[in-house]
């Protein structure tokens, strides 16, 4: 209900959005989206005749998406406000509508969290399947079963889709679901925006995948960089890649503003900065990046789209543009982007570690400062991606040093790990195992990054498999392992069931071993001169590549074990999980499972920090008001 209604004491005015406009139904929205898209495509093709049909395709995608989103109901509130009516209620009243709730617009952050978790995991598996196809091709040194054009499309699909996944999985699923619970809020600051951010994601993924069909352009050949001028000249499939990527960027930005506002203004009384869970701190650090970096990308993509559709020649050197502009804009977004992947992983790792070490997190403040430092410094290193592109020589020592300096705040996180492990009473449960593996993987990923920051050495290693090994060690080895850890840790809160321990152990050992046996040899093949994105490589690297491919398949299978575990435990396991199986002090574990629609019937007062484990005299983390001790600040509806 609106705050004005509460303040004036009037009964809240409630409008059914359903009555206002078209029905909020996924099927209707899809149909409207398709019809709008086809009409816009036709109009675009009539309006602009000087291109290869790009204007029509771009308009079709954008208008189709807008039609879908409006039909889903995202314009309803706007229209109400424009008509001078109070907006519809955002307080959830009932226990939900069952599983259909997950197919529509929901203003409950818990529903949106699950939507993100399931949707993005599905995207993860799809993009992982592309990785398997790439590795199949690389079983052969002179080009494998896929023709050259399909191979580059595969590389692009895998790269872009995994970018989508890595940007959104931790923030979207765990950030949306748990941040309000951790800080003692009843909801997110902007629930409609939150749902809007989610629904852009399947749209973006769908548009990206539509490009593989011949009618939509038959793929795109630029990898995930979409480097101009190749992307300007590419086939029609590029238009889908541009629009899909831009949608994900917008979604990340919107989700970031929402989470930042929520953490800044909606913390429970007593939730001071130094009592905030470190995962929430990691969300602050990362969301500054996520709010500010993707708009730069969106601008670059719009410029590519204009170059393609209306010949604006931002990036066409022969017409006065410059390729550097794209490279600079892309990496100005692209480097903060990789810290968007990794900082939430730090947050999850440090959140889980003390729970299983049964002692306080070591160096909490320094770890927070470290994450903020990483976030801050990540704006000043982007040129290390283009050392060989011909940047001004005076910039190179600066960007080299800045890149190496960023390892200092990153290293602080390792000090927190060691300090927390010191004299700990470890409980070797699955979340802890994954967190330890995460630190091991990230150690290798981080140390190999120093090789790449060195300008002279970069001339040997750049564009090669050393780089591929390095960023897979950080993104898969750390971020995806954080996803595994978080899924085992928070699954009981999500679903009320525990993930099966035996299948989980199998998943852990296969994932850890085969991840390392896949990506460790990549440093060697990279050092030996194998370049990225090329289906052809020197014949002396054949043996190593076969080894990598076979292990990659096994690592892929281990991910299926994880999925099987999730499905089995969620759907077929009868036994309910305890409310707080890990004996965590964090606020979300103090709530009942399933979490009440309103999260907190009465907002608790936070009286101590969340990591006071191992102290028998520790105060409880929050004081919960007695049901009738004072009136609830929001009247029950």
């Amino acid at each position: 209900m609106s705050q004005t209604a509460i303040a004036s004491g009037r009964a809240p005015v409630r409008f059914s959005a359903r009555r206002l406009f078209l029905s909020q139904n996924l099927l209707t929205a899809c149909l409207v989206g398709i019809v709008a898209g086809v009409i816009a495509y036709w109009v675009g093709a009539q309006l602009v005749t000087t291109d290869n049909g790009d204007a029509g395709v771009l308009l079709g995608y954008i208008v189709g998406a807008a039609g879908f989103l409006i039909t889903m109901g995202f314009a309803n509130d706007l229209i109400l406000r424009l008509r001078g009516r109070p907006s519809a209620s955002i307080v959830k009243t009932a226990e939900g509508k069952g599983w259909t709730e997950y197919l529509g617009v929901s203003l409950d952050h818990k529903v949106v969290g699950i939507q993100f978790a399931v949707g993005v995991t599905f995207m993860f598996l799809l993009a992982g399947f592309q990785a398997m196809m790439i590795r199949t091709d690389l079983l052969f040194p002179n080009g494998g079963p896929w023709p050259a054009g399909q191979y580059t499309t595969l590389v692009g699909l895998h790269g872009l889709m995994m970018m989508f996944v890595a940007t959104l999985i931790l923030i979207g699923a765990f950030g949306n679901y748990f941040v309000p619970l951790m800080i003692g809020a009843k909801r997110m600051a902007f629930p409609r925006l939150e749902s809007f951010a989610f629904w852009l994601v399947p749209l973006g993924a769908l548009i990206l995948y539509s490009t593989i069909f011949a009618g939509f352009g038959g793929g795109f050949n630029t990898g995930w960089y979409l480097y101009a001028p190749l992307s300007v000249e590419a086939r029609l499939g590029m238009d889908g890649a541009i629009v899909g990527f831009a949608f994900i960027g917008i979604a990340a930005s919107i989700a970031a503003i929402n989470l930042l506002t929520t953490i800044f203004v909606m913390r429970a009384p007593g939730m001071t900065w130094s009592r905030m869970p470190i995962f929430a701190w990691s969300m602050i650090a990362v969301e500054f990046l996520s709010a500010l970096a993707p708009p730069v990308l969106a601008c670059a993509l719009i410029m590519v789209g204009m170059d393609r559709a209306v010949q604006s020649s931002f990036f066409e050197a022969s017409a006065g543009g410059t390729t550097f502009l794209y490279e600079e804009m892309f990496w100005f977004f692209g480097h903060p982007e990789v810290y968007i992947f990794i900082i939430p992983a730090f947050g999850i790792a440090l959140e889980i570690l003390p729970v299983f070490a049964r002692k306080p997190l070591f160096g909490y403040r320094l770890a927070v400062a470290g994450m903020m430092g990483v976030a801050m410094m990540s704006w000043f290193v982007w040129n290390h991606h283009i050392f060989t592109s011909g940047i001004a020589p005076g910039l190179r020592p600066f960007f080299m040093t800045a890149t190496e300096l960023i390892s200092i705040p990153t290293g602080v996180v390792f000090l927190s790990l060691l300090g927390t492990l010191w004299k700990a009473q470890l409980r070797f449960k699955l979340p802890l195992l994954f967190v330890l593996a995460l630190f091991f993987n990230f150690l290798i990923g981080g140390l190999t990054g120093v090789f790449l920051s060195d300008v002279p050495l970069d001339t040997t290693l750049h564009d090669g498999f050393f780089v591929v090994g390095h960023f897979h060690y950080t993104i898969v080895g750390a971020e995806i392992f954080a996803l595994y850890a978080a899924s085992y840790y928070w699954f009981p809160k999500f679903t009320g069931k525990m993930l099966n321990e035996r299948i989980g152990k199998l998943h852990f050992w296969t994932a850890f071993i085969f991840f390392n046996s896949t990506f460790l040899p990549m440093f060697a093949v990279g050092y030996l001169g194998m370049l990225r994105r090329s289906p052809v490589y020197a014949s002396n690297l054949h043996g190593l590549n076969v080894w990598i491919s076979v292990n990659a398949f096994l690592f892929g299978l281990s991910n299926l074990i994880w999925v099987v575990n999730i499905i089995y435990s969620w759907a077929f396991q009868k036994e309910r999980a305890p409310v707080n199986p890990w004996e965590s002090r964090s606020l979300e574990w103090q709530l009942a499972t399933p979490i009440p629609a309103d999260n907190f019937e009465r907002i608790p007062t936070i009286v101590s920090g969340p990591y006071d484990y191992g102290n028998p005299n520790a105060r409880p983390v929050a004081e919960w008001p007695e049901p009738n001790s004072f009136p609830s600040p929001v009247p029950a509806t």
Partner: protein, 278 residues
């Protein structure tokens, strides 16, 4: 055991591991790209230094972590709850940050020193070429990237164009790299050279070749359909020749390719080909 001992034992183990690993790095692990050029020697050296640093740091972190984990797992009875757990330690944190600052500044310094060899404002690839005592009279080779091959022009010898790279040892080479279409990357592995070929831009890099070698040239930047096949390797590979071999190749090349020069555009640092129109 006392606290001190629990820090000394993993400290000793990681020191031993560091020494063993570093010896292996120096003596056994022969890091590419080899010793054909001054830049390659430089990259090999830098790689070894970083491998030593990485191994030492990595081994220490893993050793301490594993030691603490084993200590916890072997504890027969749960330790008594300890309200006085260490939450932070100013000295430890300062030492940790201080030592990482020292390591990082050392690595950065190493890179900056290697960059000293640069001579031109557009230099892409630092080669320490001049430091090797070469005359300031480089052989200019223009590398032209195009979908999907590299061609090479020798402007000091009439500007003829070939599709195979030949260059002499013992002379400073200046690569002028540009592209006719999309972005490519001229990546010559044995030379330790990687220079992006960008339309409308002349990227310059230097190399000083010490000994004759085959040169594998591949395109390093995704440039479209046949990117993977944009190579100059195997029997067709580029070659660094001795000065006498090179001069005989030059006279052969001038007589073979020279007559075709009239159909080439005049030598320039960048080219904008007229697009085909139908």
């Amino acid at each position: 055991m006392s606290t001190k001992r629990h820090l000394i034992i993993p400290g000793i183990i990681s020191a031993i591991l560091a020494v063993i690993g570093d010896f292996l790095v120096v003596l056994v692990l022969h890091l590419p790209p080899g010793n054909a050029t001054t830049a390659a020697i430089d990259d090999t050296f830098t790689g070894q230094v970083f491998a030593i640093i990485s191994w030492s740091v990595g081994a220490a972190v893993v050793t301490f972590a594993v030691y603490f984990i084993v200590l916890s797992a072997r504890a027969t009875e749960a330790p008594a709850p300890n309200p006085g757990y260490l939450r932070s330690h100013l000295g430890l944190q300062t030492a940790w940050i201080g030592s990482s600052v020292v390591l990082v500044m050392f690595a950065a310094g190493l890179g900056v020193v290697a960059l000293e060899g640069q001579t031109s404002p557009n230099l892409v690839v630092p080669a320490k070429a001049l430091a090797a005592g070469a005359a300031r009279d480089p052989l200019i080779i223009q590398v032209i990237g195009q979908q999907w091959q590299f061609t090479y022009r020798y402007p000091q010898y009439g500007g003829f164009e070939t599709s195979q790279l030949r260059l002499p040892t013992g002379r400073l080479i200046q690569f002028d790299v540009t592209s006719l279409d999309v972005s490519h990357s001229f990546s010559a592995y044995q030379l330790a050279v990687k220079i992006d070929a960008i339309s409308g831009i002349n990227n310059v890099g230097y190399v000083y070749v010490l000994k004759p070698t085959a040169i594998d040239v591949r395109c390093g930047e995704l440039c479209g359909l046949w990117h993977g096949y944009m190579t100059d390797v195997g029997a067709q590979a580029g070659q660094a020749l001795t000065p006498s071999q090179f001069s005989s190749w030059l006279s052969y090349a001038e007589s073979t390719y020279g007559p075709g020069e009239s159909s080439l555009p005049k030598f320039a640092l960048t080219y904008f080909p007229t697009p085909l129109t139908y």
